[in-house]
Symmetry: C2
Subunit: 216 residues, 2 copies
């Protein structure tokens, strides 16, 4: 069962260029994504991923420096997708306070969705976050710059009146930590959504008030 011969597979033949225009690293990423979803990070093996890609496991190391780097790359692709969606919110022509709300709500919702629909992917994300691995640090930096943009815009448009932008940004992340940090999201995975949303709503409302009042 689960034959190891991918030769006659519909999407890729044994010769790399024949039908699939995807480069080897992207193909490996796709296979690793599927293995991760099915087996979890612990049971994913470089050997099996390589075999499904029709190559020796040694060759995988030409594209990814380690198994962890491969799994982080899988998570990284999802994180990029999350950031893209959030950027859509941050770039919309809405008032800054609305955008902060939508940004935080979306960040929480996307992660909750991942936790339920792709628990293994979420586990890698969580692990990378807790261990502060590069993939997570870079995600944080980009998240921060999204929030920064909105805060900046809020200040110049007069909606927000924070004195210290850095302080304001840190405050936004700290105050919303309860509902946006992967650790917290996993912790109340089985708390009813509407209960969470009600409480998150109160916190967001408070954040907006504080930013408008410029108490930082």
């Amino acid at each position: 069962m689960t034959p190891a011969a991918p030769r006659d597979c519909a999407e890729a033949s044994s010769t790399p260029k024949s039908r699939a225009p995807v480069s080897a690293d992207i193909r490996l990423l796709g296979i690793a994504t599927e293995h991760l979803a099915r087996l979890g990070p612990k049971r994913v093996t470089v050997v099996a991923v390589a075999a499904e890609a029709g190559m020796t496991h040694a060759n995988v190391y030409r594209y990814f420096p380690s198994k962890d780097a491969l799994l982080d790359a899988v998570a990284g692709r999802w994180l990029r997708d999350v950031e893209t969606r959030l950027a859509g919110i941050a770039d919309a022509p809405d008032p800054a306070d609305d955008k902060i709300e939508r940004l935080l709500v979306a960040l929480a919702a996307l992660q909750r969705d991942a936790l339920t629909s792709e628990p293994n992917l979420f586990a890698v994300h969580l692990d990378a976050t807790v261990a502060a691995r590069p993939i997570a640090r870079r995600h944080r930096v980009r998240l921060r710059s999204l929030v920064e943009r909105v805060v900046e815009e809020g200040i110049t448009s007069g909606i927000f009146s924070a004195r210290d932008r850095e302080r304001a940004i840190a405050y936004i992340f700290d105050a919303s930590y309860r509902f946006t940090h992967p650790l917290a999201i996993q912790h109340d995975a089985d708390v009813p959504h509407d209960l969470i949303e009600a409480r998150f709503g109160a916190v967001i409302h408070a954040i907006q008030r504080v930013l408008r009042a410029g108490v930082l």
Copy 2:
């Protein structure tokens, strides 16, 4: 080394009543506390605790229904101590907004101290919290009532003007989660204290403003 014969021990002889006025359950609790600190929850054994108390392990089950219950009782004693210190703050004749600040700061500090000086005790506390075991739920209830008292007092004294008390209390816990929840405290165990305190200060300041403004 570490002889297993507690007979000639200075604090307790083989006959329970001779010199030590502590009841058997308290003595077990003390021994378990020391074992936990030294070995960690995983390596504590009911057999060893019983042996040091001069009884058979089966007899321990007369006083504690399970090993986990014994360890939770050890953590529970510490939690009670924390609550007592916090009650001292809540009962002081200070303005309610000051008391909220001192309460939250003390809650964070006591846990950070425990994390460094009694990591195994903290581990049990954290585990009980994440698993929502009775010991942690009861602690949460008592913490909540402390905060409730202060909020109540703030409202009647006119310092706070929250409409919905329940909502205000939930908000306080949610907004301070980043700095008071054991999960978060463990997560940034190695972040410099002064950095944490600066950011916590901003969050507390915001909480006070929100409570005074009565935005909830």
